[in-house]
């Protein structure tokens, strides 16, 4: 996205670091290995330490390079791809509404999977612009244990009010009727066949409004992540007076949180409830609890989740900031991602039928266990190795 500014940033930091490292080397050669230094501090923290471990300037440089990698090579492209997918869906709906045919409906429905995939790849970035104006919930109102979305969308389709047909007024309505689950209902829910005929005109226009509203959100996300004075800059240039990112460790902590939070969400929201994993060995699966199961995109969403996380993991280049004795974590985490991916790829679709198949069910059960194991590699090994506060108290508010 911004190769020039990225290179400039990195080179400035590298120069500063080299200067500082030389000074340190002259005084104390043992301090030259910054990640190891950070690690030492994390193993012998004292109560007087700051919230995030302070590391030397050299360490900060490497850490901020890792943060820049995440922003430039994963987060910004991820939001751009989501924005592109939203526009494509909007175009498909435009076509369908002006020419309601079975073929155009099918195209719009098929395209929805691409939109689900694009969002899934970036959905676990849960800080920054996505947290403004309830954008996350407006894109993805889930989980929805009380079925609020279906009730409210059905009411809209019944009442046919005008304010659901324009992105601006739709944005003022309940978050549950604005996002991907609502669009899924429009395209795949009861009565969606009407979209292939003139009788589905209102429904189609509502779908168009959802896409237009999503487009305004995705465009804002791209712009705000691209803003050189916005979230990216705050992450890459942490400052003492910032409410969140005061040190390089705070910024890296935000990147690591994408993995820890994302893997927790996959396990607790996306896999465990439909697999009835907490309800004992003999409890029947509840496939209707899969996110995007109604459009047969449940597997697509899960695959996107892991692909997005794996791409981010590779973009960050964690080995560059991990101490020598923790280098094994890179390949170890990569291996787990790969195994999860290949198990998902081997599951039958749709997932509503896969859960009735012992082999596929076993693979999904494996993915749930592996997701938790992968998360513990991030929380119990990678984060401490990076000198990030172990966060027993802070990790999860209460």
């Amino acid at each position: 996205m911004h190769p020039a500014s990225k290179a400039a940033r990195k080179s400035l930091r590298s120069t500063l670091a080299a200067t500082a490292a030389l000074g340190l080397l002259a005084l104390a050669p043992c301090l030259a290995s910054a990640p190891a230094q950070a690690q030492d501090q994390s193993q012998a923290p004292d109560a007087g330490g700051a919230g995030a471990n302070a590391s030397g300037l050299t360490g900060d440089t490497l850490v901020l390079d890792a943060v820049a990698n995440a922003v430039d090579d994963a987060i910004r492209p991820g939001y751009q791809a989501f924005d592109d997918a939203v526009r494509e869906q909007a175009f498909m709906l435009e076509t369908l509404c002006s020419d309601p045919t079975k073929e155009n409906l099918q195209s719009a429905q098929e395209n929805f999977g691409g939109l689900v995939s694009a969002f899934s790849k970036i959905e676990f970035v849960r800080f920054g612009p996505i947290r403004e104006d309830n954008r996350l919930e407006r894109i993805l109102f889930f989980p929805d244990p009380r079925g609020v979305m279906a009730k409210q969308v059905q009411a809209i389709l019944k009442d046919q009010a005008d304010n659901a047909l324009h992105a601006e007024t739709l944005a003022e309505k309940s978050v549950a009727v604005q996002g991907l689950p609502a669009l899924q209902y429009v395209l795949f829910g009861d009565g969606s066949d009407d979209l292939a005929t003139e009788s589905g005109a209102y429904r189609c226009s509502y779908g168009k409004a959802i896409a237009a509203n999503l487009s305004s959100i995705s465009t804002a996300l791209v712009e705000e992540w691209g803003d050189e004075t916005g979230i990216s800059e705050r992450l890459m240039e942490p400052a003492e007076d910032d409410p969140v990112y005061r040190t390089a460790s705070d910024s890296l902590g935000a990147i690591v949180s994408i993995f820890t939070e994302g893997l927790e969400i996959v396990a607790d929201q996306r896999l465990s409830p439909p697999l009835s994993a907490e309800d004992g060995a003999d409890a029947p699966a509840k496939p209707n609890l899969f996110l995007f199961g109604a459009s047969d995109n449940a597997l697509t969403a899960l695959q996107g989740d892991f692909e997005g996380l794996q791409q981010l993991f590779e973009a960050v280049d964690f080995p560059a900031v991990l101490p020598a004795d923790k280098q094994f974590l890179g390949p170890s985490i990569e291996l787990e991602f790969t195994q999860i991916g290949s198990n998902l790829d081997a599951v039958e679709t749709p997932l509503s039928e896969a859960v009735a198949d012992a082999d596929s069910l076993g693979k999904l059960g494996y993915v749930l266990i592996a997701t938790r194991s992968l998360r513990s590699q991030f929380t119990d090994q990678l984060a401490p190795a990076l000198g990030l506060a172990s966060g027993f108290s802070s990790l999860d508010g209460d």
Binding site: G51, P243, Q269, A389, S393, S394
Partner: protein, 377 residues
């Protein structure tokens, strides 16, 4: 915490229990410190092997007893009349363990009823006969105060509507009759772990109830623009004002005020912390405590790695210091004791707020809250 949360534990009773053996096991320096100490502390912990417990410990970090818990605990309640402590499960778990803090003997374990889970906080009535616990009615996402009859084997004899969801900390006011509770306003359901389900429509509040009837005495809210400011933790100062600490679920850059005080009549007033005091909190206050004399209020932000002390009279910032992952707070002899998720214990020394220096270390990770058990002479 505050005056209502520093009950006395008889030193004689303590020494008659496990105390004697405990005293013999102490290093000379620790034994001396224990003789001098006027309080013990209790906190849910994670042990080095990953298992969970509730530890009773001295200011020096010597562990007197460590009661095993089936899963992660949260806060501890104490009744000095019968020397009973209760360690509550962290939400959304369903257990509470009743034990004698002077011996570590487990009296019984409680389970929240079907369709309910504990939110992690509670307290005893002044006569030790009733236990109150904050609970979730999962299906309705409705906060409750469960009432348990201690003498009838902790039978659950009733429940009070908390008039909000995500009911978190509850305390007994110094009048001994009024419950004050914080409705965090965040919907969760155990089917989805600890995921927050309703951030766009949060409606946190501070509620006062009659502890005998459950009647709603007052309910207060912050201005609507702050509806994503989850009111969660409480302490009562010397003037019976309720200090509340919040976590902010809105955009981090908003940096709203996170602490304030309230009375049943006057409603909620936010303090006016300077920006440099607020930034250190990272939009999150994990616990609040009042000093023994009720003149000072301490706040901890484990996310920001920051501890603050305020003047309870005017909310003025008196002290700010760093403590990595620090969250547990309790009044100590002069100032405050603080613990961290990394196992650090910070003692006040002669300070009226937090002590200087690095503190001591215990062989466990402390959870978010510490209860002070004062030792009588």
């Amino acid at each position: 915490m505050g005056p209502a949360r520093t009950p006395l534990l008889s030193r004689r009773a303590f020494l008659a229990g496990a105390g004697a053996g405990f005293a013999a096991s102490l290093l000379p320096r620790e034994a001396e410190a224990f003789e001098r100490a006027d309080a013990l502390f209790a906190s849910a912990v994670r042990r080095p092997d990953g298992s969970f417990g509730c530890a009773v410990f001295s200011e020096t970090g010597a562990i007197l007893c460590d009661v095993p818990l089936p899963d992660r605990g949260h806060d501890v309640a104490f009744d000095p009349v019968f020397s009973r402590a209760v360690a509550f499960a962290r939400r959304p778990r369903t257990f509470a363990i009743v034990f004698d803090p002077s011996t570590g003997h487990v009296e019984r374990s409680l389970a929240s009823p079907q369709g309910r889970h504990f939110f992690g906080h509670g307290f005893f009535s002044p006569d030790g006969r009733l236990l109150y616990a904050t609970e979730n009615d999962m299906a309705a996402a409705r906060g409750l105060v469960g009432v348990y009859d201690v003498e009838r084997a902790f039978a659950r004899i009733g429940e009070f509507d908390a008039h909000g969801m995500d009911t978190h900390e509850a305390l007994l006011m110094p009048d001994g009759e009024t419950i004050v509770l914080a409705n965090g306003g965040i919907e969760t359901h155990p089917d989805y772990g600890r995921q927050k389900l309703n951030l766009p429509t949060m409606d946190p509040s501070l509620v006062f109830l009659d502890r005998r009837t459950g009647d709603l005495l007052a309910q207060h809210r912050l201005p609507a623009a702050l509806h994503q400011l989850s009111v969660r933790h409480l302490a009562i100062d010397g003037a019976s004002q309720v200090w509340f600490g919040c976590q902010y679920e809105g955009p981090a850059a908003d940096l709203p005020q996170l602490v304030g005080f309230a009375t049943p009549d006057a409603g909620m007033t936010l303090a006016d912390l300077p920006r440099e005091g607020l930034t250190g909190l990272s939009n999150y206050v994990g616990s609040v405590a009042a000093s023994r004399d009720g003149a000072r209020i301490a706040l901890a932000s484990p996310r920001g790695g920051r501890l603050l002390v305020l003047d309870a009279r005017d909310g003025r910032l008196l002290q700010s210091r760093a403590m990595a992952d620090g969250c547990g707070l309790a009044p100590a002899s002069s100032g405050f004791l603080a613990t961290s998720g990394e196992g650090a214990i910070l003692t006040p020394g002669r300070a009226s707020g937090f002590g200087e220096g690095a503190g001591t270390r215990a062989p466990c990770h402390f959870d978010n809250h510490v209860l002070s058990l004062r030792l009588a002479a």
